[in-house]
Symmetry: C2
Subunit: 636 residues, 2 copies
């Protein structure tokens, strides 16, 4: 790979003098060319495309500060160019990076057909437009993430340059190898973390908390070994926003990490929300906080977002590409292209190799794969068929409503809750269930709002419905968004209540449960995994007398008369059959499979299954490993 | 394990005031108690023994500087106490450590029965005697190692205290694990190095050069990975003096290592000699030197020598014990007792599980073993029976001498040369061959001299012969020590010539060969492995016309008329059968076997063999691993 000086030389040589280059900056993985005559390049786009292809870099042309219109003028021009139907909600200028953020209800209309309007904005203002969606459900998170980033443009432009220079440093060594080290979520679920090392670079994949340990060493992955020096780490890559994959990222910043975090935009926003909630819960429960909101804010400024299938240099010898993982919004499989193709790693994170209503099926075709690190959560279980699960849920709702009861569905904040909204919305539309009000409440409602900011990241069906038919299932009229618990609903007419938390260990779901439990006409429906030790698990396992600690600290005895149901099959993880199918249809076939993110028994059973089916799966020559935490495997 | 303050408190509490303690020093792994009244403790040895047992430490009592006799007086006293038959050769005082080095031809007589004379010296001079042998063959190496160390007593006492304080630091972490990382000599032979890591400590086992790569990265083990920080390393442990196990130790000091090197005394001396020879050869061949003699001298000052089966703390949670490996003089298997018995590792280094004339059979009974890291050099080969090999050699000598010819045996400097001397000496004594002169020359003669300084480290037979019957086979009258090459011998009467180098790639062996090759009455006998690319290998493989570069740089053509023979079976390594027997009779059985120090094919064949014979070997539940360089295995 070429070093910085060579790259700069190639650009200077490739671009005609007329463009009037004033600076070339390495802004994170992108190379920004600041010119005094941007019109020249916009009329000669072929020049840039050719250089970008030649040097294999992402190049962006920006206008030199001296030629940009002043903010007031620029704002006027933008308002004139963009059609009013776009409904611009906010415009923010980033002087340091020469960018203008345009937030609109219909961002497509700001971009224009083939990007024409977007380009016109640049040509007339010389500010580079960044266009984002103003979500139909207002999201405090999306709002504050953007505000925070546009308040700190100076810091951000400074660190992007630091990242850029580090990414494009010269390669020093001839000695080449790739090591993969298990730091967390091997032979277990929780606290995901994998270190990938070459002679030249180090990348950390995921940095999760262990949800089954609320403090102490078992809460974190093995981050404090000699092998991992935070100051030498090139990149942190986050596959999705569940806390067992991203919950400890701010902790890295607390202990000296100063580098970039690569993830998708939805993951960035949901991740920050979840981390702040983790702090909130820990504080309420009087537990020590592993980090503070300050580090969450720092993490945001250090985050570089990528689209699926966008190839990006993250170290002098490593390129990262995310592929849709189908697990939750923004979830990605991380593909690492190492040493100009010497070795290619796919780290799946959590993935669903099946369509859900919310998301498309996980990708399993890659340009190259030598080693795959693959989750095995359901290595020994098969799930119920999805259609049957939906039918089961419909039946429960109908029976309950017919008796005059209400249905309480505790949902996890990210993923399952939104999937339930789509299932129920569809059932109402298809008239499979009566048009009762569907109340949504708790943390998950804010997460739903974030979903509405990123329709491009949802399943084709939902995406098309929102973008082309202007029909947003999350804002469908049957959904009633409420704040926390409401007594009139708990004791009111037949309805469906979707509330967090999903395992009944907090949130409005518990309050609804307390009030609804004694009425035999009501139903409680579990649609996700109930962890050991939670109230949800106790009830699902058959307890009909439970104790709940009241807000005023008193223990309350609850006798359960309501119907208790459990519908499997809505999981965001691939079940055993889907895991096998994923490998069977994977292209190309890997040489090494490392199984992670599963209990020891699940991994062991799945490994045996793999070995017995090598022929059918086309994995005749593949090594299957089941590493233990702190094992390092040299894969190349 | 107790920290320093606790240890000091235990000692103060356990020793009566009468002893008048002035200081307690951690001198490397030993705790030295300096007292003003040593007589008290010498009369109450039970007190010290009890404390040592209680705190599980090696305690040594020394006299406070103020009460020691002055050097002149002390010297007089020593000369009066030690019987003249001991033949004292030198006496050196170390003021900093309060020790007196007494070098004598008969060290046993300085020690006295039950250590009585040694004790008397201490009681009358208040200097602690360290007694070493003045070898019958003068060794420049032994001489200069001791001189160097006694010239630098201040530095040495200072670093011993640093080591001691580091070894006895407080244990900080509750998290416990043991990782083994392959740095060199895995799936290959050469550049041995293994890193053992716990949460608390790091130990490097062996640090060898790759004899098949004379410069560049392949010459060294993987010492420059993030996982290995020289400044944080607790100990370097060297199993034996062959360069592929110890050749890069000075390199560690060059790049910042400041800690101790643990090995046996014979290994220390031979190692330094071999390292200096490596520099010599590299310089002559105009290759870059990986380090200089300065670092060899530093290594010597940092070396702490241990006897076989002497248990020593080398880190707050690691104890080291060497066991006889039967490979070359001083060779040891390293046993690591980790975390108060949580895990026990045996690293065999090179070993011979069979008696040779020079050494006893390798030990395979240990107090505890969980993981064994085991050499597999001959994983796929069986050697000829030893008795047959000796008979074969005897026949060749007889045939050659009967024809009026001379026998040239190229020998490796360490091990094979001395073994040949014992075989030939025995054959002469038993009148199996005629009493012809046996010339010994080259580097190996200096190594033989070192052997005569350490008879306690040789086989029981040789040891008994030297110590009790005063019959030293290395100084037997038939051996004629000569300097380099001698023409009169090459063209003289029938004789046997033992000369380095063993593969005919330098040394007097080549010069003898050149002159003797044309005479069909002569024989050339290979008794050790001939590496690819060496002159020895070419000849052994059948070449009868070879080119040699002369001292004046001209190429000389040599036509070989002398007989070429090869006698297998003298190897210092265990062959396949012996490797299996070693495991079969090993006690206790390990849970993990890591195969190293073998070509990939040898390891793979031996691994299969192990798996097929698990039942017979009693290894039913043992994991067998064949790691690759840079793999880390978490073994506990």
């Amino acid at each position: 790979m070429a070093g910085r000086l060579e790259l700069i030389a190639s650009i200077y040589n490739g671009i005609p003098k007329d463009a009037q280059i004033t600076r070339i900056e390495f802004e994170g993985p992108e190379i920004a060319i600041y010119v005094k005559n941007p019109s020249f390049l916009t009329n000669n786009t072929e020049v840039i495309r050719k250089i970008a292809k030649e040097i294999k870099k992402r190049i962006v042309v920006k206008a030199d500060r001296s030629v940009r219109k002043n903010e007031k003028e620029a704002l006027e021009i933008i308002k004139n160019i963009v059609p009013p139907e776009a409904q611009i909600a906010d415009v923010k200028f980033d002087e340091d990076l020469g960018e203008v953020l345009i937030k609109a209800k219909k961002p497509g209309l700001v971009i224009g057909k083939g990007g024409l309007i977007q380009q016109k904005i640049f040509m007339e203002t010389f500010w580079k437009p960044e266009i984002v969606r103003e979500p139909p459900i207002k999201s405090r998170t999306v709002e504050s993430v953007l505000t925070h980033m546009y308040n700190e443009t100076e810091y951000r432009s400074k660190i992007l340059k630091t990242f850029g220079e580090r990414i494009h440093r010269e390669l020093l060594f001839k000695d080449r190898y790739v090591r993969v080290t298990a730091l967390g979520a091997f032979q277990e679920v929780g606290r995901s973390a994998v270190l990938v090392e070459t002679k030249e670079s180090r990348v950390l994949l995921d940095t999760g908390v262990n949800p089954s340990a609320s403090f102490g060493e078992r809460m974190y992955p093995k981050l404090d070994i000699d092998q991992l020096r935070l100051e030498d780490l090139d990149a942190v890559v986050i596959t999705h926003a569940h806390l067992d994959h991203c919950g400890m990222v701010p902790f890295l910043f607390k202990y000296g990490y100063e580098g970039p975090v690569y993830t998708t935009s939805p993951t960035r926003d949901v991740m920050a929300l979840m981390q702040l909630d983790l702090l909130d819960v820990a504080e309420k429960e009087g537990r020590p906080l592993p980090y503070s909101a300050k580090e969450v804010r720092k993490e945001l400024l250090h985050t570089i977002t990528l689209d699926y299938e966008e190839v990006t240099d993250i170290a002098p010898d490593i390129r990262l590409t995310f592929y849709n993982a189908g697990h939750i919004i923004g979830s990605g499989m991380a593909h690492l292209h190492i040493g100009d193709g010497m070795h290619n790693i796919v780290y799946t994170g959590d993935f669903k190799y099946a369509r859900t209503r919310l998301l498309d099926k996980a990708v399993n075709e890659f340009p190259k794969v030598d080693t795959i690190i693959m989750e095995t959560t359901y290595g020994k279980q098969k799930q119920t068929n999805r259609e049957e699960s939906e039918k089961e849920l419909v039946d429960i709702i109908n029976n309950t409503v017919n008796k005059g009861g209400k249905v309480l569905i505790p949902v996890l904040a990210v993923g399952r809750g939104q999937e339930m909204m789509l299932v129920i919305n569809n059932a109402i539309k298809e008239k499979l269930i009566p048009e009762v009000p569907v109340y949504v409440t708790g943390l998950f409602d804010e997460v739903t709002a974030i979903h509405t900011a990123y329709p491009e990241w949802l399943s084709k069906e939902v995406r098309d419905s929102i973008l082309y038919r202007d029909e947003n299932p999350f804002t469908a009229p049957n959904f009633k968004r409420i704040e926390g618990y409401r007594e009139d609903i708990a004791h009111g007419e037949p309805s469906i209540i979707l509330a967090t938390s999903g395992m009944l260990n907090g949130g409005p779901a518990v309050e609804f449960f307390k009030e609804m439990a004694s009425d035999a006409r009501n139903s409680l429906v579990f649609v996700s995994y109930q962890a050991e030790g939670t109230l949800g698990r106790k009830i699902r396992d058959g307890a009909r007398e439970v104790q709940i600690i009241n807000r005023d600290g008193r223990v309350e005895n609850i006798t359960i008369q309501m119907e208790i149901k459990s519908v499997e099959g809505f999981s965001g993880h691939s079940d055993q059959t889907q895991l096998l199918k994923f490998l069977e249809h994977m292209s190309p076939k890997p040489r090494n499979i490392l199984l992670n993110h599963g209990e020891a028994s699940a991994i062991s059973e799945f490994r045996d299954l793999l070995n017995r089916n090598r022929k059918r799966l086309g994995l005749w020559n593949t090594n299957v490993y089941a590493p233990t935490i702190l094992d390092s495997l040299r894969v190349a």
